[in-house]
Every structure is written in structure tokens, then in C-alpha cells.
Symmetry: C2
Subunit: 183 residues, 2 copies
DNA sequence: TCAGAGGCTGACCGATCGGTCAGATCAGTG
DNA sequence: CACTGATCTGACCGATCGGTCAGCCTCTGA
């Protein structure tokens, strides 16, 4: 490691983080990163062995904390204690590394720019409004968005769960979680 | 080949859906789709004007239902009724179109194959176990996964919310939503 | 019998990808 | 002065991308 730390290294990391978050890992070329930094593509590959090495260095700190959380959970005496540590630890992780985690969203933001999804974002905002009971409170809007995104993100993984059971579970979750509950 | 097969159109759609869900839109080439179908890339482009047209035809039904849900919500007399319709309508949408929505995850599944994320999936499963209070019930595991994915997916969007406030909101959400609540 | 239409192919195109390489520039050191 | 190592560049490479095109094959109906 060079003593008079060259700032180019960090500038590349910062630029890569912005590009990855905007257009995904695949959707970001080394030339994109180089252009944003203001150097050549070859300069990027001078500071990093390859494209993957950039992603690795970006995510390493968050992953390390994630692994240590896993160990802390495993060290708890019972399910109740494990649940508390898991909840608090994960929330802390999500808050501290939110920008790092955000770039895992991949090509999703760019995908939404496709003509097919032209009105999806506006509709989603109105949907969040409705779920939050038209409340302006930040916590109500956070709750609604987390639930909306979580359901959209995961429902495809329950291919083996019957429609009725999956629907009941999700509706039950919404009833419990929304701040001004459904009557 | 050259069989009288007008079913090729649908086979291409099905193959594209599988590939998009596995490696994302960008990460799936027309050749990938053609190979999975067992025809030439040119045949794919005979049935669809371009790559985007495949995505459009795949998502169109789900988007139409999503738009009509938006209209139904807007037609409700008050916030409470709107919230109920939004919750029930969105859950129904997510359950019915879960495979279509799943392919919006983009490059995420493929990204997790990167060496950096080697142990993330196992750790995530243990984290879900802990959040679900070691319960085997499907609804408990669905709840934990939705919350986990939702927080990870959205926390990056709250760059303007102070850490303390965001953390409190998320922890409050977990307390309310988890089936065997945190003491 | 044969024209025409639908279905499909292989060859090809320009653009862009991740990555390599030889060499230019420059600061520090003896 | 000569030399060295770190930083960076432009030119280039093979592979792959989305997409085009001329033409082949098979089926159908007049």
C-alpha cells in the first residue's frame, strides 16, 4: 500500500458505488466508471485487478459485519434472545450500510425506466400513500414501503405455497405491521 | 426443424421468463433464450421485434392489473377504505403474478453467486430462522423473509432520514410484525 | 403443379464489453 | 546526472452483444 494514499483509488470506489446503484453491476462498464472519475479505463484497471475486485472492496465491510452478526446470534442461549439480537443487529446493519446494500438492487432502477413500466413509480407512490393511511409521518411511510418492497421481492420465492395460504400470511402481516391498522 | 410450430412464440416467452428471473434482463442474451428454446437467435427475433418486446409482453398482464388497482384505490371514499383495498389488492396481485414480479429482481440472484457473497445465503437463512423464533410455520417464515428483504431493499432510499429515526421505525415495524413478538 | 405465405436459418454487421500491453510522465533518490 | 518505481494513457485484443438480411424449407390451396 502506497504511503501517500492516492485519492484516485477512493474516487474510483465512490464512482463505482454510484454507477452500480444506478444501473447495476452488469449495467455499469469500466468505461462508465472511468468517465465519471475523469480518468482512463486502463487507470481503473491499474488500481483494481478487475471489475469484480471493485465490487468486492465495496461490499467487504458490510459483509464482515453481517458475518459477525451471524456469530453473535448463534451464541445466544435461546430463541427469544436470538430473535432480539437478530432484529436489532440487522436493523443496525441496514441503517449503517444502507448505501452499500442499496447497490445490490442491481439493474432494478434502470429496468423501471423501460417504457413498459412507465407509470409504475407514480402508482407505487399512491399505493404507499394508501397503505400508510395518507399519513405524512416518516415511520408510517417507511413501514408501507418496506412491506410493499418486501412482498414484491419475495413472493416469487414461495412457488410451493398455495395461493390461499400465501395470501392469508401476507394479509396478516400487513394487518399487524401497518401503523393505523386495517379494521 | 421447420416443423409447423406456432407454439414457438409461447416457448420463447417461457424461456425468457426463466432466464430473466435467473440472470436478470441485461444478463440474459437473445442467444441464451434461443438456446433454451432450441432454436436460432434469428427465430427469436422473428417472433418478437426486439428484446424489449419480450419483456413488455411478459409484464403487460401484471401491469394492467396494477393500473386497475390504482384506479380502484382512487375511487374509495376515505383513507380507511383506501387502505383496505390497497392491502387486499396488492396482496392478491403479488400472489397471482408472483412469477412475473420475480423477474424484476434482475441481476440480484446472479450477483449473489459472486465470491464476495459466498456465505450470504446461508447466513440469511439462519437470520430468518432467528427472526421467525425458530418456528417452522410457513407464515412465520414468510413474515421474516418479507421483512428482511423489504428492509434490505428500501433502506438505501432513506438517505435523508437520520439514523436514529430510521432505526427506531424499522425496529418498531419488526416488533409489530413478527408473529412471536420481541419482549 | 406451382405460387405464395409462414416459419426459420446461417452469415453477417457495428458497437461495446472486460482486459492486456508497451510506453509516456513524473517525483524522489543516490 | 542516471535510475527507479508509481501512476497513467492510447491502442489494441478476442468475445459477445442486439439486430439485419437474403434465402431455404414446408405446407396450403387454387
Amino acid at each position: 500500500m502506497a504511503r501517500p494514499t492516492p485519492q484516485t483509488h477512493d474516487e474510483i470506489l465512490a464512482a463505482a458505488a454510484r454507477r452500480f446503484a444506478a444501473t447495476g453491476y452488469r449495467g455499469t462498464s469500466l468505461q462508465d466508471i472511468a468517465t465519471e472519475v475523469g480518468c482512463s479505463k486502463a487507470a481503473v484497471l491499474y488500481h483494481f485487478a478487475n471489475k469484480e475486485a471493485i465490487l468486492t472492496e465495496l461490499m467487504a465491510p458490510a459483509i464482515e459485519v453481517f458475518c459477525s452478526l451471524d456469530e453473535r446470534i448463534a451464541a445466544q442461549p435461546g430463541p427469544a434472545a436470538a430473535q432480539r439480537v437478530a432484529a436489532e443487529g440487522f436493523v443496525d446493519l441496514a441503517v449503517r450500510f444502507r448505501s452499500e446494500i442499496a447497490l445490490l438492487r442491481g439493474e432494478f432502477p434502470e429496468l423501471l425506466q423501460q417504457p413498459v413500466f412507465a407509470h409504475i413509480q407514480q402508482i407505487s407512490e399512491r399505493l404507499i400513500d394508501a397503505l400508510a393511511g395518507q399519513s405524512e409521518r416518516a415511520s408510517a411511510r417507511i413501514t408501507a414501503l418496506v412491506l410493499l418492497a418486501g412482498i414484491a421481492e419475495t413472493c416469487g420465492q414461495f412457488a410451493d405455497v398455495p395461493d390461499q395460504e400465501l395470501g392469508d400470511a401476507l394479509l396478516g402481516l400487513l394487518r399487524r405491521a401497518l401503523e393505523s391498522p386495517i379494521h
